[in-house]
Amino acid sequence: MGRTVPVKVAVNGESHESEIPARLLLVHYLRDELGLTGTHVGCDTSNCGACTCLVDGESVKSCTVLAVQCDGAQITTIEGMTGDDGALHPLQEGFWANHGLQCGYCTPGMIMAAADLLARRTGDGPISEEEVRKGLEGNLCRCTGYQNIVKAVQAAAEASRGVTA
């Protein structure tokens, strides 16, 4: 019972092969095995979204995924959003420029959820406040009251469209 399982994942472009317990949650695999502590745990009922990362390009709550379920997958965490040269992703820049964070604990999850939201959009127009609020319904923040988070995501969307604010 509970023997280890082999798993191979690519995380932020780097390949990892491990033998891990089946019950090891993806969030703990990222944090404790790979030392990528930017992904955070905030609850135990899949509500808060602080643990959000991308699996094969889509947002997931990594506390509700077993690492073994990700065998063969490409995972992106907050650490993977910064360019190799240290260049900030438009979302990171948007959060910084618009005071979209205070304690910073929910922020990595927010940014990853926002990344999925922006990638998922079809259509050309700027993203509305309603769309952002709905798109981030799976991410809780206790500090900011969300307003500046919405601004940050809208700013990132504009920047990605090549439109200057």
């Binding site: 019972m1 509970g2 089946a22 019950r23 745990v41 135990d44 009922t45 998922r120 991410n139």
Partner: protein, 280 residues
């Protein structure tokens, strides 16, 4: 936060999954998206000894629409359904499940097999009069929605059976409405109502109304249906029918809703869902 220990194996085919389930015995469970099962395991409300991961089985994917029956593979995620406006009620309901991260993992097969009366899709399946196909070592059978949900977290799916497909009628000519009432975004429904109406010359030719989270299984609001079927479709007839939506129900209260409030919500939400479904 941490599940109890278990063994884990990946099945490459449905037949393999069936075999692994039977080898694993009573405490073996299937794992698709894991968003019904893993939350329970993390709180140690469930502790299966073996998880059989069926998420790689290609046969269980895909949506075939276009005829009278829509066939949805068990591994179809809520995120896949939310994009499918052509699928009507089920896509509208899928869009309102939890949040995008959960929808990116949760599957229709997993959700229906879990049989949670508070979830969105069981009531939708009941209103659609859909069915599921399950396969076991002895072959396949079809379970109608009315027979599928038997109690709290309890369905007619037997140990050793794998839900492979969901079938729903295309219901051409039916309008639909889905009303999910919750305290705040991302919550489960306090009460939910699925409604389908077929209008013919301003009259209600057919109506189906299913109630979510009003009992240990989803329910048809048959008294309300009977009151509307055959009637002209207008504000008054809808309101009168909706008044009967809670007939025969005795929901248990919880923190957010007393039994009286739930019955009241059933009536209000039925009126709203019928209004949308009738485009009145």
């Amino acid at each position: 936060m941490i599940p109890a220990e278990f063994d884990y194996v990946v099945a490459d085919s449905v037949d393999e999954a069936i075999g692994l389930l039977s080898d694993g015995g009573e405490d073996a469970k299937l794992l698709a998206g894991g968003h019904s099962l893993l939350p329970l395991m993390k709180l140690r409300f469930a502790a299966p000894s073996l998880l059989v991961d069926i998420s790689r089985i290609e046969e269980l994917r895909g949506v075939q629409a276009g005829g009278d029956t829509i066939r949805i593979g068990a591994l179809t995620r809520h995120a896949d359904l939310q994009e499918r406006d052509d699928l009507g009620l089920i896509a509208t309901a899928a869009k309102q499940i939890a949040d995008q991260q959960v929808r990116n993992r949760g599957t229709i097969g997993g959700s229906l097999a879990n049989g949670d009366t508070a979830a969105d899709l069981p009531g939708v399946l009941l209103a659609l009069e859909g069915s599921v196909i399950v396969r076991s070592a002895s072959g396949e059978r079809e379970i109608a929605a009315a027979d599928l949900f038997q109690g709290y977290l309890s369905t007619a799916i037997e140990p050793g059976e794998v839900l492979t497909e969901v079938r729903i009628p295309a219901l051409a000519g039916y309008g639909f409405g889905y009303e999910k009432f919750n305290r705040r975004s991302e919550d489960w429904a306090m009460v939910g109502v699925s409604a389908l109406v077929k209008a013919a010359d301003g009259d209600c030719e057919d109506v189906r109304i299913a109630l979510t989270h009003m009992a240990s299984t989803p329910l048809r609001a048959s008294a309300a249906e009977d009151a509307l079927r055959g009637q002209p479709l207008n504000e008054q007839t809808i309101a009168a029918a909706a008044q009967l939506a809670a007939e025969g129900t005795s929901p248990l209260g919880d923190l957010n809703a007393s039994p009286e409030y739930k019955r009241h919500l059933a009536r209000v939400l039925t009126k709203r869902a019928l209004t949308t479904a009738s485009a009145v």
